[in-house]
Each structure stands twice: as C-alpha cells, then as structure tokens.
Symmetry: C3
C-alpha cells in the first residue's frame, strides 16, 4: 500500500510524499525504513524526529516537517488499528461446527455458525448464540446463555445460570460465576452462605485472562455494556459496573460496590465493599478506595483522595526533612531570644503556660 492509499482508508490528510510504498507496521521506536507507525501517547512525540519509519499516523495538531510522511487523523490509535486489521497477519480461524470430542448436555440450544472446539463441556440447557466460538476445554455450566458473535477462549469456566450479551470476548483461564465469598461466623467457625444469585454480562464486554467474577449472593453481579476488564482482576459478588468502564489488571472490587459508567480503574487498585464510585471517575494505579467517590473525580493513593490533594500531601511529605530543619532553627532562635530577653528583663526565661 502507498501512503495515499492508507490515508484514504483512515480518512487522513497527508503531509509529505504520498507515493511512498509501505511494507510493514511497527512501533515508533522499532520502525524501519518502509514501515508505517503512529503517535498516540504524547510521551512519544519527541521520537517523531528520530523514527526511521517512512510514514507516521499523527494527531491533527502535528505538522512538523520531518523526513517521514505524516498522515494527520483525529484518532491515531484507531486509524492505525484499522490498518493493522487489514495488513496484519491473518487471524487464526477455527472451523465452525461441533468438534466430536465436545461434550454437549441435554436441551442445549446452539445457534448458526457456532464453533465448539475439542474437549469443551457444555452442560444441560445452555444456549449459545449465532456465530460464537467456544474454545478448547471451555466449561459452560447449566442454564448459562452465551450471546451471539462471542469469542470464549480456551479454558474459560463459566458456571451455571450466567447471562451474557453479544460480542463478548473472554480470554483464557477466566472464571465467571464462582461462589461469592460469604460466610456467617458463629463462635469462630465460618458457615457457608449459599450464593444463589448469578452474573449478568452486557454486550461488547471484553474480559482478560485469569480474571475472577463471582456470582451474587442473590440477584446478580452485573457487568455493563462495553466494559473492558484486563487480566487477573477480581470482581466480587453483587458488584455492579456501569457501561464503558475500564478495569485494568490486578484490580480488586469488593462485594456490593457500585461502579458508575465510563470510570477508569488503573492497575492494582482496590475498592472496598458497599460503596459507590461515580460516573466518569478515575481511580489511580494502586489506589485504595475506602469510601464513596463522587462523579468526575480523580482519586489516587491509599487511602484514596482527590488527586491534587494527594499530590500536595505527597509533596509536603517529601519536604518533611526541610520542615523539621525549620523547626530546629526556630527552636534555636527562640532559645537565643530567650537569653537576650533575660539579659534585658533580668528574670528567668518565660515559662510555658
């Protein structure tokens, strides 16, 4: 493809040579002559002058004259993704149809063009929507519904009575619908509380590898439309996650907490149970959220507080040695003053009251 052809596909404006031929795709650091790359993260803007790429997809506000041809677009990530989907390696495909080794229970409803891979185990009364792929060794429990055009990677376990929407992607090793962690403790002994609720997952949800999403004690744990969950995340019983929220790797959300829409929860953050996180909030990496967060708030740290407040306290904390120095100097000055006053006043030092 030429630079001009690429610009047409992504609806971009070319600055520089349109006729260059592009032979590969790469990151801005690794790109070689003949390759196309892009800049999405502002941090990488200085690399524009250093890259060996022949063409770079850039945000509209970049128009430096550099040796590479530039293709200006509104969203470089999205534009580059489009080209990757066209020019990248052929995605792996799975035969449609049910592999003879798959174990299919009674009264299972399987849609059109479904692929069920080797050693999948589908229990009674499961429903699988049109066009979905069930990977090798996947386990799907009784009464669970997989929506259409979904991709369930190998070794996912989805227990009974889970309801899932369309175009859901679940990566390997993830467990949906395990029992919520609930016990009634009597004289130091913990008695299991039945977890009779379920999990409901909306449309266009993507869930990473080795994630755990527990079923509700009653009612349901809920993952809204468009939610994206990274690897090794823990979502406890009865959690509610609003649509288009992003949950980064190793986050933990405790029981019955409600997370709003379009929230971003960065890696390794933890959220306590029974609280509410407002829409459009951002929770920083490793933050520990211990109380309700209003909408449109950016919190960081542990205990999590307003980002600017947290930065200010962090800055003060770093300056502690300086402040302690000041206290010491003040003590010395006051002692010296005391002596002077004594000279003048002819009495012992002023007492503390």
């Amino acid at each position: 493809m030429t630079v001009r052809e690429i610009a047409e596909i992504v609806g971009g404006v070319v600055i520089g040579d349109e006729s260059l031929s592009i032979t590969g795709l790469s990151g801005i650091k690794e790109a070689k002559e003949g390759e196309l790359t892009f800049i999405a993260n502002n941090k990488y803007r200085p690399l524009l002058k250093l890259t060996k790429a022949s063409a770079v997809i850039v945000p509209s506000d970049i128009n430096n004259s550099v040796s590479a041809s530039l293709i200006q677009v509104e969203n470089p990530s999205l534009a580059f993704a489009k080209i990757m989907a066209i020019a990248g390696p052929e995605p792996v495909t799975f035969k449609s149809g049910i592999d003879p080794t798959a174990v299919i229970g009674n009264d299972v409803i399987i849609g059109k063009n479904v692929s069920i891979q080797p050693y999948a185990v589908i229990e009674d009364k499961v429903e699988i929507g049109d066009g979905s792929i069930i990977g090798a060794c996947v386990y799907i429990g009784h009464y669970t519904r997989v929506g259409k055009d979904s991709l369930i990677y190998p070794h996912v376990v989805i227990r009974e009575r889970v309801l899932m929407g369309a175009r859901v992607i679940i990566h390997p090793g993830t467990v949906i619908g395990g029992d919520g962690f609930g016990f009634a403790t009597v004289k130091g002994v913990h008695h299991k509380i039945p977890q009779i609720g379920t999990v409901e997952i909306g449309d266009d949800v993507e869930i990473g590898s080795n994630v755990t999403i527990d079923r509700a004690r009653f009612d349901k744990t809920y993952i809204g439309n468009g939610v994206k969950i990274d690897n090794l995340v823990q979502i406890a019983h009865n959690v509610y996650i609003g649509e288009n929220t992003i949950v980064v790797a190793q986050v933990g959300i405790s029981g019955s907490t409600v997370v709003g829409r379009n929230v971003i929860i960065a890696g390794q953050a933890g959220i306590t149970g029974h609280i509410t996180i407002g829409d459009n909030s951002i929770i920083g990496g490793k933050a520990g959220v211990t109380k309700n967060i209003p909408p449109n708030t950016h919190v960081t740290g542990f205990p999590a507080r307003d980002k600017w407040e947290d930065m200010r306290l962090q800055a003060y904390s770093r300056r502690q040695p300086e402040f302690i120095d000041k206290i010491k100097k003040l003590e010395e000055k006051i002692e010296a003053m005391g002596r002077k006053i004594k000279d003048i006043y002819g009495e012992e030092e002023p007492e503390n009251n």
Copy 2:
C-alpha cells in the same frame, strides 16, 4: 412460606404480622413487596425504614416498629442462609459415577458415590474419598488424596502428593502444589532448588477461583481446618495457616510465614516471608506486613502498624499543610520579635548557635 413458618425454621421471634406470605428472597435495597430480606451489616440498618420487603430477618436488638414484619435472631446471615438453602433455586447436580472420558491412572482408589466428570485426569495412586465430586477437566497428580464429600470444581489442578481433608471446596482454575519459588543464585544465574515437600489441607476448607498454593521446599505448606480463601490469593511454599483463618481476595503470603488461628487478612494485603502473625489478628486491606504481628492485633497500612497508630499518623499526615502554615507563622513572628529586640537591645539579631 409464611413469616411464622420462616421464624420457626430459623428459631426467631416475630414482631409484626406472622401470617404474611413470602414469595421470594432478596437484598434489602432490591427487595419488593412479598419478599424476605435481612440485615447483617450495620451499615444497612437505616434501610430498614425504606425497604419494600414484607419481612426482614434482623439482629435481636432491632425492634423498631416498621411496616415490615421483623424476625429477630442471633445471627441474621446464618438464618437467611438457612432459608436460601431451602427456598433458593435447586442447586446444580452432577451424576455420580465416572464419566467414560475421564482418564484414570493405575492403583487409583475411588470411594462410594464419587462423581468424576468429563475429561478429568486422575494420575496413578490417587485416592478419592466417598461422596466427592471431581469436576470437568480437573487434573489430580500422582499419590494425591482428596478427602470425602469434597467438591473440586472444573479446571482445578492439584499436583502430586497433596493431602486434603474432608468437605473441601475448591473453585475453578485454582492450582494446588505448584513448585515453590526457590532458586540458588550463583554469579547472577538462578539454579532451581527442588521442591520436594507437599501441601496439606485440613477439613472444611474452601478455596476460591484462580488461587495458587505452592508446595513446600521440604515438609509441607499447611492450610488448617476451616480456613476460607478467596479468589486470586497467592500462598507461597512452607506457609502455615492456622484454623478458621480468612484470607480475602488477592492477598499474598510469602514463603515460610506462619499465620495463626482465626486471623482475618483483608483484600490485597501482602505478608513478607519468615514471619509470624498471631492468633485472632486482623490485617487491613492493602496492608503490607513486614514483621511479626502479636496475637489479637489489628494492623493497617504499609508498612503495617497498629490500626490506631496508623490512623493517628494518617490524620497528622492530612494536617501537614496546617502544620507547615504554623511553622511559617512562627518564622514570621520570630523575625518580627527579633526586630523588636534589636530596637530595644540595640544590637544585631540573636545568632544561631
């Protein structure tokens, strides 16, 4: 069931209409007319006036006159759990017997009424106790013993020589008996140390999804009777956990650490290796424990310290801006005083010594 019938089952005292008919179970926020709910967490007490439930199981000290009928019991969670077990959806059942696709090694001892589901792999010399269920695709390594009446969910991996007690529940994706993480480093190269010990798990233990419990270097990693472990927990080689301890999601316990009985370790806490956590201690969420903790202690924060000490330091930390302000005011006052003293005394300001 009527309110009276429910009260009889849980041994409770009714305040209000005993004859009401209950048609469903729910949480206190979501409950509708005709439903039964309960209050266990004090945080939800104010909702008693707002709930639409027709009956509420409450602790004995709640006797408000509200529109709902109240059923007073000692432990509302436990009482509600009893009703859920009776009135909830029929639990999923697995046929007993060995599925023809299961691979069973030599000299395997299988008790009465055992269910082994499709594609389970049971290696040589394994022993499985009466009444246990081995889920689909479960792997059980050589010489391992599963006790009676246990429930091993699909895709659990238990490696060789692990010993497990009765009534153990293990949720999907958990790995028991992986090698401890041990290397001897010689000139920067890490040589594997054989991990020839094992894991021993007591009776009535429940282990969540995608947990990892490593085998010991020698001797054993030990999980006491009645211990409950949540999802994505890491338990390293040679850890000892005393009975009835609770380990919440994403906790990590490093090698050779000894945790006492009836300890609670809250979510995402980390405990360093080779230390001792006393009986009945509580370790707060996200705490980082770096040294021994005496019995009956509540620690929080990182590095973890006594909860009240930690709260006090946190409070001081929040008030830093105020203290720094005070320092600034003191500096100003002293400077002003210095000038006054100079006026009186007719000399340069007092020097620092």
Copy 3:
C-alpha cells in the same frame, strides 16, 4: 549417606563427626535427630544452636562448635538442593509418546522423546522440541514453537505464534499470548485495537502458576534467558524483561515497560507503562514505580523512591507527633515571649508582616 559422603558431593569441609549417618532432609526448625538441614538465610543463624539436626550445611564463615556436624560450603542453598535432588522422593514421570486422546493439528512438528499428555490440544503448525513434556489439557495455539527439554504443566494455555526457548518450565493455569489490553476510545466507546504481535520467551525461563503474559500490539513481548517469574504475575503487551531478572508473585508490569537484567521485583510491586528499570535494580515488595529507575538502584514505597530516602521519610513520618508537639511548644514560648516584650516595649505584640 554419611556426613562425609554428603560433603564430598557438595564439595564441602566437615567440622565435627564425619561418620554420622543421615536419614532425612528437613528445614532447620523442623529437623530431627539423624536429619540434614542447612542455613542460607542469615535470619536463621541463631537456630544453629537449637536445631536437633545431626548435620547442617552452612556458609564458610560459620564454624561455631555446636553438637551438629557442620558442612561448610560457598552456597548452602545450592549444596542442599544437590542433596535434595539425590535423596528426595522420586520425581513424578510421564510416559513419552502422544496420548491417544491428545488432539494434534496439521503440520505439527514433534521432536524426539516428547510426551504429550491426555486432552492436550495442539493446533496446526506447532513445533515441539526434543524431550519436552506437554501436560494434560494444555492448549498450544497455531504456529507456536515450544523449545527442547521444556516442561509445560497441565492447563497451560499458549496462544498462537509464541516463540519459546529451551528448558522452559511453565506451571499450571498460566496464559501466554493473550491479547494486549488496548482500545481506542471514541466518544466514550472503546474500540478494540488488534494485537498482532507475539510473545518471545528465552531459554531457561521458569513461569509460575496462573501468570498472564500478554502478546504485543505489534512486534513482541519479550522474556529474556534465565528469567524466573512467580505466580499470579501480570506482564502486559510489549514489556521487555532482561535476562536473569526475578519477578515475585502478584507483580504487575504495564505495557511497553523495559526491565533490565538481573533485576529483582518483589511481591505485589507495580510498574507503570512506558518506563525503564535499569539493570541490577531492586524494587521492594508492594512498591509502586512511576518513573524510570537507574541501574543498580534499590527503590521502595509508593511512589517508589530510593530505599534510604524512603526509610528516612518513613522515619520522619513516624515522628510527626513529636514534631507537632515541638511546634506547639514553640507557639507557646513565642506567645510568652511576646508578652514579655510587650511589658518591656510597652506596645502591642509584633505584627505578622
């Protein structure tokens, strides 16, 4: 074996009775008469006097006269590991050959003496090196290459196009090559960015249980020779880890971060994306690394900073109550002084400027 025979195997110097017969191996706390133990961690040196072991492998600088025979060596861990490998329980073995239940795709190249266990699924064009063991239910995706003499435990999932070196060990439940977590967000909706890169793993790498290592957006996520990764670790797309680095349990490394050689990353630490960690650095447990770390640096805390700086700030933080007390006393003294000065000077207190 006698103490003398053991000393010969490990190349050690005996202090004490060489003729003692050793009947077992154990940790220093648990050891009984007749057993051999060792001291590697300095913390356990005081136990040398208390151990009931008959012989102890010790570092060369220990020569106390105690009742046990000592065997002095340079690296006691390594020496003890040698004896464990000889005297420990026979390791579990797997038949070589392909189990008839394994599903093998087209154009798969399988080396000599390979063992493929029940229900493994090997997709088209996979290559498996000589002497490797593929555990039960392992899934290996299209075009992936497993090197020679590797041990892939049950229930590992390795997706397509992953390249792995020789002598790699992967523990159960680990997922290699899941999609990187990348989305382009347009008006609040997250569009998936294809992840067309792969994962490359060097020789002599060991990876724990339930780890997740994502494939690159393009190019590759890279794990260098001799890297050792513990359980439940998250390694995001395009991360680069230099050789012989150690990554302890529950660590998370965000996208495109470069970790040098011989780095140690302790448990539950988190590293943000797009940064560089220099060679030979140490990152403390639970540290949160937010910016580049130079080589040979030891950082701790969150945000991570130089260990000594962090300890100093922690110490100051603990002394806050004391400093605040000092401020209060200064305020009182100054007020008292102000009164005195007023007496002398006959005017109102000095003003703040």
